[in-house]
Symmetry: C2
């Protein structure tokens, strides 16, 4: 089936690396950096990459929508606009298919999740973060992540997460809630609670294999003072993000998009 | 004597921490973060902190000029303007003293160095970096530093430094050059070359004492995967920055401000 994820955040927050890490594939080839003399873009672009991958024995057509330029200009007024327009144009495309006589083969290209990358400042949400999330939380499942979290100590991460959640609550921003199931078994409920307790996930991405001091080979980043391991839950929440996005809640993300976000957009559209 | 340093860069790049680390004193008390409901400022502010400190047995009146808000808004158009105005108003104040009948006691409050903090994106200079440096390089000694460089591996730092220097050259930006002395002894020349070879410095700041795995107590940051040591030249260029700014080149920074930057400003002003 089809899953579409959008990735948003300023340049250099490790977005391409994280996407490659999540799907364990080089979806994004390392960008040849533009030379100093290159003309820089002046608006947010929308780019799409497609791949057929297999997850848990399930074949998946994955689309990752990238939004280069967001947050990168001196003046970022309305930088959310091209992104909102893209999400809504996908709703339009779906509505158009729904309204056809023959509806046997509907392709669902709506954005099912938006990974929003927060700069690891250690302070609070930035004004651009608040504005983006307020403009888009009713149109897409927002999953904010703390980018490059190996920049922060465990204590700094706890404080920062607490602050982010209180900023989000204060501004009435709705982020995707990992649903909890009352009728599930103990183990599933515990897993769901553990995932929920780590939001927003503090992530680290890497597709490089490095050697740990104790001789293991892992995906990670090698510093002079030690090795950060992407798949080590003591080091970051990457595993939790992967569980939420791919293993456990992919279906919930698609359903919530269809049953709630799209339906609300559709009724607003048909009323006006 | 008097030394005035200005600190510029977006919120969360470790500026306050680095200033405290440089002068080994809590010049900046940990900011009580504004609550989520706080009204956020809408323009760049200029704030000043003063301290009397002792360096190498020399008593120094240090002023650190902070520029909160720079780079923090959705729209950062002209954010360099309040900063440029502050630098020029200090030139005006000096000119006014120079023009007096009695010039026995001139206080030099001109900005002698501007530490410009670059976000460790791993890509290239941001548009706001280029604009700021182009607007200010003729008015103040620019010392760009790579903030929170413990975010980057050694290899990433080398590539990033190379890219930054080529962006700077491409845009004809003049940054402060550690002067080299032909008539100095071998050791001094070597030290000057070593400092120059590390520019822009990749810095890490911390005033916290932490324990290394091999039992030493150092200023640094403790991560689950290891301890970054601020004063360890294998870990970052903090020592080099401190040498340049405080130990070796403080006099050159003041002289260059007086003999070149101020003089050029003064002749432009008197001509027009
Ligand atoms: N510290 C740290 N650096 C990272 C991480 N992920 C990527 N990077 C580095 O950050 C730089 C930018 O990464 P990239 O994926 O191109 O960022 P993008 O511009 O957001 O797509 C590269 O040098 C990466 O190696 C991470 O989790 N932690
Ligand atoms: N990784 C890393 N974090 C740092 C460094 N210096 C400060 N920090 C952390 O970054 C956050 C913001 O630091 P602060 O000095 O307040 O930044 P400012 O807003 O630029 O003044 C705090 O959580 C600091 O502990 C550094 O060199 N490396």
């Amino acid at each position: 089936f089809q899953f579409t994820a959008m990735v948003v955040g300023e340049s250099g927050l490790g977005k391409s690396t994280l996407v490659n890490t999540l799907f364990n594939t080089t979806l994004y080839t390392p960008k040849e950096p533009l030379p100093p003399s290159a003309e820089r873009s002046r608006t947010v672009a929308i780019e799409s990459i497609d791949a057929d991958i297999e997850e848990n024995g399930v074949r998946l057509h994955l689309t990752v929508v990238d939004t280069p330029g967001f947050g990168d200009f001196i003046n970022n007024d309305d930088s959310w606009n091209p992104i909102l327009e893209n999400i809504e144009s996908r709703f339009d495309a779906y509505l158009e298919q729904e309204n056809r006589v023959n509806r046997q083969k509907i392709t669902d290209n709506r954005v099912h999740a938006c990974l929003y990358f927060l700069q690891p400042t250690g302070h609070a949400l930035k004004q651009i973060d608040i504005e983006f999330m307020r403009k888009l939380h009713n149109k897409v499942n927002l999953i904010p992540v703390i980018a490059k979290s190996d920049t922060m100590t465990d204590e700094e991460i706890l404080d920062f997460k607490e602050r982010i959640l209180s900023d989000i609550a204060h501004h009435n921003i709705r982020i995707f809630q990992a649903p909890t199931y009352e009728n599930e078994d103990e183990e599933t409920i515990t897993e769901a609670e553990e995932i929920a307790s780590k939001i927003p996930f503090a992530v680290v991405g890497s597709v490089q294999q490095v050697n740990t001091p104790d001789g293991r080979q892992v995906r990670g980043r090698a510093y002079p003072w030690g090795v950060v391991e992407v798949d080590n839950e003591e080091h970051c929440d990457f595993v939790k993000l992967r569980q939420m996005l791919i293993r456990t809640y992919m279906e919930e993300l698609r359903e919530h998009t269809n049953n709630v976000l799209y339906e609300n957009w559709r009724s607003d559209k048909l009323v006006s």
